[in-house]
Amino acid sequence: MSTTRAGLTQTGTATSLLRFATAGSVDDGKSTLVGRLLHDSKSVLADQLEAVEHASRRRGQEAPDLALLTDGLRAEREQGITIDVAYRYFATARRRFILADTPGHVQYTRNMVTGASTAELAVVLVDARNGVVEQTRRHAAVAALLRVPHVVLAVNKMDLVDYAEPVFARIAEEFTAYAASLGVKDVVAVPISALAGDNVVEPSANMDWYGGPTLLEHLETVPVGTDPSVEPARFPVQYVIRPQSEEFHDYRGYAGQLASGVLRVGDRVTVLPSGHTTTVAAIDALGVQTEIAWAPQSVTVRLADDIDISRGDLIAGGPAPVPTKDVQATVCHLNERPLHVGAKVLLKHTTRTVRALVKEISYRIDITAPIEEGGLEQRPAPEGLNVNDIGHVVLRTAEPLALDDYTDNRRTGSFILIDPADGTTLTAGMAGEAFDTVSTTDASQEEDWV
């Protein structure tokens, strides 16, 4: 079975799914690490490898360039850069993986924000020779901002520092302290060499001082998902199902995907923004009646009372959010056109799209400030937010929204801003404050930074 493509050695056994993202600066060896993970987990097949070998030879390279496995577009191959987030798929006997492979160069912040938005784990790569640098802090801050539950620090190129434990320990300690100060709950540090294969898939013979898991072992065993039983139920209504057939004459079901929590038949729920309360009468799980559903299942809910409900409404169990037209949020601006005060935009939150006005850009967050100075700094943003900027805004919406704080709920606390003129996705938004601790800079220090 050693040649079996992983994931099927125990046919019939359900495997779980981990979505994770990688972040690394240009020369940290991220492509090599991704190539190593795919290659050593036997996820690269003969014809793919052959294509890479062929292309490498044509380019005059002696060894197969594993980066060619991941750089898919013409411009990327021509320029030897990675343009955009790409998704990779691999599997082991224990778990399936969806890897958001985010490039590390200029446009990194928005790409990493994109990749991290769906990730349950982020791998932050550093070069053992350089330690924690500005990019590393950005990556940690983005992982914290997006509330990625698990962060792995992969200290790469250990082969170039003689596999020395003190080098690793110092970097791990500095990074863990910084990440913890940003609110990251779970950090695991692994010393690796992506090039030589140490501690990526196979344990390293060169670092017997390291007693922890290899990177892949950790990816296979890290807990996935949150515990729905401790979260309030959130069910954004996507679509109203009314068959109007003879058999289902009076059927009126609200289709959606549970954003969090558990719904049971008989549960008391509140419909937002109207505030009406009613009871769950039935739950249909894709055509089969059931008594219980939980996040992230897609189901159809029927309610006891005849209430006017449509796409965009939220069915909430437990403590319900108070609908508001005044939205305070941390945002990452994604588009080359800056975001200005006074801009009229569309805001998409769960299944509801409303008109919104940018009332205030309170501040920009400088996530590169040195750790000893607090790590994060608020800066004035009189020119608005530029592409890749992270900042805090106040929005006024045309209709009330049932938002949770992003800190509490990544799905009902997130939104995007859209340009109403051409539909461009402008900005990613997270309701509430981004970080527990952001220090303010007074104007006199501003010149140092400019």
Partner: protein, 312 residues
């Protein structure tokens, strides 16, 4: 180095654990319902291949007990496997669907398209496809493309905006965050939607097994008259093969993908049940397209170039 871990459960131990297939299914159903909620005239591209069959199955589940609120669009290359056409028509009748057919042969007969020297009809699909989308004013077009198929596809969004020429510009894609899909488009533009983006070939087969989904017979091992061209076993037929120097032999084969007969190769196989097929794929050292698709081998960027022109 581990700091505290709260509110997190070990998926395998939790009563609320979802298997990877459940998670993928929930995500795909969410995508179907988003499109139903946001677009005026969506359509499902249906080839009769396993991916489009799984798409249709997911759409049926997403709107049950109501019917699927979308029509089907089949781009008929004129060189289809008869078993696949028969399957298509059975599915349409069984689920009471509306079927639109965009026919490559029609376009050739009308002189709009010209037969290629190599006889490949797959690259000719783009013009009838875009014409079918335009003339029916479809604003969302579901495709069964998966990101694991090909490296250009690994970069494609779930909601992928196409301009009025149907073209894909990889540099101008919208970032896609959380499960907040942006379907805004101008008149004349449309959005390609890929609900199976995050599925792999194995996921598709495991799901087919779990759900007991029927497939066209050509996916399972059978005896067939084939001949060899460019290292692939192609079916003898009326589309320009075999040539005089291409001897025909009868072999035990099956198909891993279903496309136009002129460029879809069979693989030697004795896998005649779904369990055997899954075991075979799991052990295969070749990708699905690498094993069976001639059109992807034309250049390093063949898929990307065709997508830029409006292909899926």
């Amino acid at each position: 180095m581990t700091v505290t871990t709260q509110r997190l459960v070990q998926a395998e131990d939790s009563p609320y654990a979802l298997s990877h297939l459940d998670a993928l299914e929930a995500e795909s159903v969410h995508i179907f319902r988003e499109v139903a909620g946001e677009f005026e005239r969506p359509v499902i591209l249906f080839s009769g291949g396993k991916d489009s069959i799984v798409m249709l199955h997911l759409a049926l589940k997403a709107f049950a007990p109501a019917p699927v609120p979308f029509a089907l669009l089949h781009v008929d290359t004129g060189h289809n496997f008869p078993e696949v056409l028969a399957y298509r028509d059975r599915a349409v009748a069984k689920h009471n669907l509306r079927l639109h057919v965009a026919s490559v042969q029609d376009f050739i007969d009308r002189g709009v398209l010209r037969e290629r020297a190599d006889g490949l009809r797959n690259p000719l699909q783009t013009v009838p496809l875009l014409d079918g989308i335009e003339s029916n004013k479809f604003d969302a077009v579901f495709g069964g493309g998966r990101r694991d198929e090909e490296k250009a596809r690994a970069k494609e969004r779930v909601f992928s905006l196409r301009d009025e020429f149907g073209a894909w510009d990889p540099r101008r894609q919208r970032p896609e965050l959380w499960s907040l899909y942006n379907g805004r488009h101008a008149v004349g533009e449309h959005v390609r939607v890929f609900p199976l983006s995050n599925w792999t070939e194995l996921d598709v087969w495991q799901y087919i097994e779990r759900e007991g989904i029927e497939l066209p017979e050509i996916y399972y091992a059978h005896r067939r008259e084939v001949f060899q061209r460019d290292g692939m076993w192609l079916t003898a037929g009326e589309w320009g093969g075999p040539k005089a120097n291409e001897p025909v032999e009868t072999r035990l084969v099956r198909y891993r993908t279903v496309g136009d007969m002129s460029c879809t190769g069979a693989v030697d196989s004795d896998a005649d049940t779904i369990e055997a097929v899954i075991t075979e794929i799991a052990a295969s050292r070749l990708t699905e397209r690498g094993a069976t698709r001639a059109d992807d081998k034309m250049s390093e960027a063949a898929m990307e170039d065709r997508k830029r022109e409006g292909y899926f």
